[in-house]
């Protein structure tokens, strides 16, 4: 079953979507600046830092020379210092604007809650540090605006009980201002931007696949527009500061100084209440209650062609979940504008955050396509996507394990228990597998045969294959204490726990291993759905854990076990079901419309079963098998074919 629900956009979302739609027409989806607000903020910060380094080289840290040195820089080297000074100011203004827009967008799209709280809170810190840096910068040229800013700052802080009027006293007359003030201000003007960069770095580290550079054409466009502005309207100092007088009006930077207007109008104490109150509100926004209906949960995401299952955190998009795991998911705008992250939804339900209609058409949606950057899981989800060209996926985690027990279950099946070095437990989903990595790098796949719920050693069922390098070693030379290297967990085959249909498990030979894992998990979680296991093997000795299956049937009323032999031997004295396992199922269940089927076994077995099941009403959405991934549902993709072999049937 696949389903894509759309969330109705809020007013803020509609406003952004409308604006982004217009910008998409102008810039195209790949250069829309509204999709790169974070990266644009980075770019503007770099402009501020590099221009600031140049300005600092010419700045005189003294009362007499501060204003004159900035003026000399502005007018004396009009096309270098003058432009760089203007760029410094305008990029700083743009930075505040872009950060505010960036935060507003995340707020509008509800991307500040849950696990995103850290990014949100660090964003608030960055915003205030940026403000502090900019306001501090306005103190340096020592003009009329500097006079206003230092006086207002001192008056604002003086209202705090500890200071009580002593700070403003430093600025009541020209005689009170010394050269040391400028050394202090310069020091702060280096320290605060360093703080911005540090918190910004931390902020970015928490966002998987975060872009810190806007597309080059966009960066060039921004730089060109700010340079043109610098030429047309150079940033200039106002008259030199003079504490003996106050000018009636000031050319005011409304990006940085609106708080200072409030200090004058409302008084310092009220402005403190406003600023601290607003900050507190911003900081607690991620935890403010929201409507119960929109409260998200955590789910699993199975991906092809990676053959991985990863966790999707509450409120996380599928794209973020995949990028967090280092998967090469395709993306560009991350905001439902470009459609680069389109994928096929194979199973499960997702809710789509608002997106541009041009990114995903109705017909594409009807065909099961969805947008990774907008899709939030409403159930366990399985998708297929085309990896980003040239991107390298992080390999599955590798472990070293020790063999703790070897048990011959039948002449051809060995039960192998492994313990990871250091005693760590490996989280996995019932149905997944590991790849044993041989000395030459070759890999052999074996399914987990226990439930992950109880921890303990990893259990594998290894079937002997004549001439097989690894399986021969298991049967002839492997000893308790030997070490093995493996990678995992892998595979997208897992038990769907969100339905209520009866489940038919079909195991062929050692395909019993993942089924055992699923069943033990189902029993552990108390699943009440009807479950029937059909285990198809050649002869009786191949039913290597039949006693266990029969014990389950005795212990769980909702479970039954049907062994099926395809070629019973005379000494088996078999009176049970015979023939092909899928034929036995069809004989018992001529109508499979109300069932789910989980099949594990040889490719031949599932290739024979799948069309027969489909003819008897089994919906393709209710048929799960790793073997089906090879054929006929999807064609094998090169080396991936090896990875989906199950149950130790590969050599």
């Amino acid at each position: 079953m696949t389903s894509t629900a759309s969330t109705s956009p809020s007013l803020g979302q509609r406003a952004f979507l409308a604006l982004e739609k217009i910008f998409n027409r102008f810039f195209g989806e790949h250069l829309n600046p509204l999709y790169f607000l974070g990266a644009v903020a980075y770019f503007l910060l770099w402009i501020v830092i590099f221009t600031g380094l140049y300005l600092y080289a010419f700045f005189e840290t003294s009362v007499v020379q501060a204003h004159a040195s900035v003026d000399a820089l502005t007018h004396g080297q009009r096309f270098v210092g003058g432009i760089l000074r203007s760029l410094h100011r305008y990029a700083s203004d743009g930075l505040v604007l872009v950060i505010a827009l960036h935060m507003l967008r995340h707020f509008a799209f509800n991307r500040h809650r849950g696990f995103r709280w850290f990014s949100w809170v660090s964003g608030v810190v960055i915003l205030w540090l940026t403000y502090a840096s900019g306001i501090n910068g306005y103190m340096l040229p020592w003009d009329r605006l500097s006079q206003f800013v230092v006086t207002a700052t001192a008056e604002w802080f003086d209202v705090l009980p500890v200071l009580g009027g002593s700070m403003a006293r430093n600025f009541i007359s020209n005689a009170n201002v010394s050269d040391r003030l400028f050394s202090l201000l310069s020091f702060i003007h280096i320290g605060l931007p360093l703080g911005v960069m540090t918190v910004l770095w931390i902020h970015t580290q928490r966002v998987p696949g975060a872009r810190t550079n806007p597309p080059r054409p966009l960066a060039l466009g921004l730089l060109a527009s700010l340079t043109a502005l610098s030429l047309l309207k150079p940033a200039l100092s106002q008259a030199p500061a003079d504490m003996a007088t106050m000018v009636a009006t000031l050319d005011f930077d409304w990006f940085y100084l609106p708080t200072y207007a409030l200090i004058q109008q409302w008084g310092p104490a009220n402005t403190w209440f406003l600023v601290l109150g607003a900050t507190a509100l911003l900081l607690i926004l991620p935890w403010l209650p929201q409507r119960a209906a929109s409260r998200p949960k955590s789910w699993s995401l199975a991906l092809h062609p990676d053959e991985r299952i990863i966790a999707v955190r509450a409120g996380e998009t599928l794209l973020d979940a995949g990028l967090r795991e280092g998967l090469p998911l395709p993306f560009e705008c991350r905001n439902g504008g470009c459609g680069a992250c389109k994928c096929t939804l194979l199973h499960g339900e997702v809710a789509l955050l608002p997106y541009q209609a041009s990114a995903l058409s109705e017909s594409e949606r009807a065909a099961g396509k969805t947008l990774l950057c907008c899709a939030q899981a409403l159930s366990d989800v399985e998708i297929d996507y085309v990896p980003q060209a040239g991107a390298k996926a992080h390999p599955a985690k590798r472990y070293v394990a020790r063999v703790t027990q070897l048990e011959l279950l039948s002449p051809d099946v060995m039960r192998v228990f492994l313990q990871i070095d250091g005693g760590a437990t490996l989280p996995f989903h019932p149905g997944q597998y590991i790849n044993i990595v041989l000395a030459d790098g070759a890999k052999r796949s074996f399914s987990f045969a226990t439930t992950p719920d109880t921890g303990g050693d990893i259990e594998l069922h290894v079937r002997r294959v004549e001439g097989g390098r690894f399986t021969s070693a298991v049967f002839h030379s492997m000893r308790v204490g030997d070490t093995l290297r493996f990678e995992g967990p892998l595979g997208a085959f897992m038990l769907r726990e969100d339905g209520d249909k009866s489940i038919i498990f079909v195991a062929g030979s050692t395909g019993f291993a993942p089924i055992k894992s699923m069943l033990e998990h189902a029993f552990h979680t108390g699943m009440q759905r009807r479950m029937i296991l059909y285990w198809g093997v050649r002869s009786r000795c191949d039913l290597y854990l039949a006693d266990l299956a029969q014990q389950w049937a005795r212990e769980h009323a909702n479970f039954s076990f049907v062994p099926v032999l395809s070629a019973p031997l005379s000494e088996d004295r078999w009176s049970g079901r015979t023939g092909l396992v899928h034929e036995a199922i069809l004989a018992d269940f001529p109508d499979l419309a109300t069932h789910q089927v989980y099949a594990c076994g040889s490719v031949q077995m599932v290739q024979a079963a799948q069309p027969a099941f489909a003819q008897h009403g089994l919906a393709s959405d209710d048929c799960f098998s790793d073997a089906f991934h090879l054929a006929p549902q999807r064609a094998p993709r090169g080396n991936n074919a090896e990875m989906v072999q199950l149950g130790g049937t590969h050599v």
Binding site: E155, A224, D242, A248
Partner: protein, 172 residues
């Protein structure tokens, strides 16, 4: 899906968008102007840091009191550190302009009383009368009267320096 715009038109529209961004940044970086003072207004800054008198006089400890103290603390005289609050009255042209009573700073209330207040006043000639009380009885013990002519935007600082005899009016 709407038809893509022709390239030249797209570039033109991009140019307009960049220009609009630059215009917004360019305008709001200096405008609208902020008015901090009326055209015919001047500024008075009352600012001083002054320690009031000790609130309590020293007294001699009796033998019993001394015995209760640690040997190294047995000072004969007990001089409480707490200082009196400082009260200031400032009148302009016979009308009260500002009144404040400021307690001394510090946990022991033994620090200076600090006052800072910026007041906007009409420019022109004014008669200022400043009075200060810093004793425990609250009686005015410093005062000064002065006539000042202030130009628009001019700042007059009213300080209090004991070494200079009390109030000091400094024209900016």
């Amino acid at each position: 899906m709407s038809k893509p715009l022709p390239k030249p038109l797209r570039y033109a529209l991009q140019g307009i968008a960049y220009a609009a961004l630059a215009a917004v940044i360019g305008y709001f970086s200096t405008a609208p102007v902020y008015r901090q003072l009326g055209d015919n207004e001047a500024v008075l800054k009352l600012s001083f840091s002054h320690s009031g008198q000790l609130k309590f006089a020293c007294r001699e400890r009796d033998a019993a009191e001394l015995a209760k103290l640690q040997p190294n603390m047995r000072s004969k005289m007990d001089c409480p550190r707490e200082r009196a609050l400082v009260r200031v009255e400032l009148d302009m042209d016979g009308q009260p302009l500002y009144r404040v009573s400021t307690p001394p700073l510090g946990l022991q209330k033994d620090g200076a009383a600090t006052v800072y207040r910026r007041l906007t006043i009409p420019a022109g000639a004014h008669h200022f009368s400043a009075r200060l009380a810093d004793g425990p009885d609250g009686a005015i013990n410093f005062s000064k009267d002065i006539r000042v002519d202030l130009k628009p935007g001019q700042v007059i600082i009213v300080d209090f320096l004991t070494g200079s005899g009390g109030f000091v009016f400094t024209r900016g």
